[in-house]
Amino acid sequence: MSDTPTRDDQDRTGAPDHGMPDGPDQLLPDGDPVEQPSADTPARRYTDEQKYQVFNKEFMPHIDSMYNFAFRLTTDEDDANDLVQDTYLKAFRFISSFEQGTNAKAWLFRILKNSFINDYRKKSKEPAKVDYQDVETTYNSEDAESEHTVDLRAESVSDLIGDEVATALNSLPVDFRTVIILCDIEGFTYEEMAKILDIPIGTVRSRLHRARNLLKEKLRDYASSMGYKEESEE
């Protein structure tokens, strides 16, 4: 049913504040965009033929990764389909702000993540609509030194299968889930993640750290519910 091309893209892509993925100034240009005076980033002039060429050669090869990212964010196949489609159509519309030969995957992931936040997150049926700021503030307010380490042994998790890991991952608030997906599943560097998520590298690092602690807690619950022997609870 989701393959009937009836949906009106204009409605979706033209929605609220995003006539653009985020404004070309914010899209990842070459080199270190943080250093660059963004307004000076010139728009590339592509002929129509070049546009299709860039699209097919630089964007389409990432579609499986994009689909997986969308699915892990939305946890719903129909939403993942729509999100990937929206993202690719936006990428095409704003292709002039993409510089050939630069990191297309990061550029696309950033558009997808912004589309997700703008269009999907609100309607997502995530149970505990966790306000990310709250969570992060709570976690960051802990004194780093007194921070607990999760009591879990490598042997207890080594028998977990993909489904169990996926369930544990899905149970994390989406912002924590996102950093783990980007880092561990997609292999982005911290610097790339900072650009994709529009946060400083220090925040990437600390968010990832919290995310992993949360994930390990979930995995520990799993492992112990399956009867692996644990060391004494903390």
């Binding site: 997986n68 489609q85 921070e147 599943i185 750290h209």
Partner: protein, 80 residues
């Protein structure tokens, strides 16, 4: 061999940086030293490595449905 690590939280952060390929030479050297002398660091290292591998290797990777690929290609042809 140390049974207790006095800066476990920092060691854990360092271990993650190293597994993520984001550590400095200095941090790498420190970890190497810890891995022969500090029991908690050894355990943390194995756990972090195991969890990361679960995520990189054991998660199902889907393929984007062909219909979606076709739909996107069709739609962009009507753009410009």
């Amino acid at each position: 061999m140390k049974e207790h690590c006095s800066h476990q939280a920092d060691c854990l952060k360092m271990i993650q940086l190293i597994l993520d390929g984001e550590a400095t030479e200095q941090q790498l050297a420190r970890l190497k030293a810890n891995l022969v002398s500090c029991q908690p660091c050894i355990q943390m290292y194995h756990l972090e490595k195991e969890v990361k591998e679960l995520l990189t290797k054991r998660m199902e990777k889907k393929c984007c449905p062909d219909q979606l690929v076709e739909r996107i290609k069709t739609k962009i042809l009507t753009f410009s």
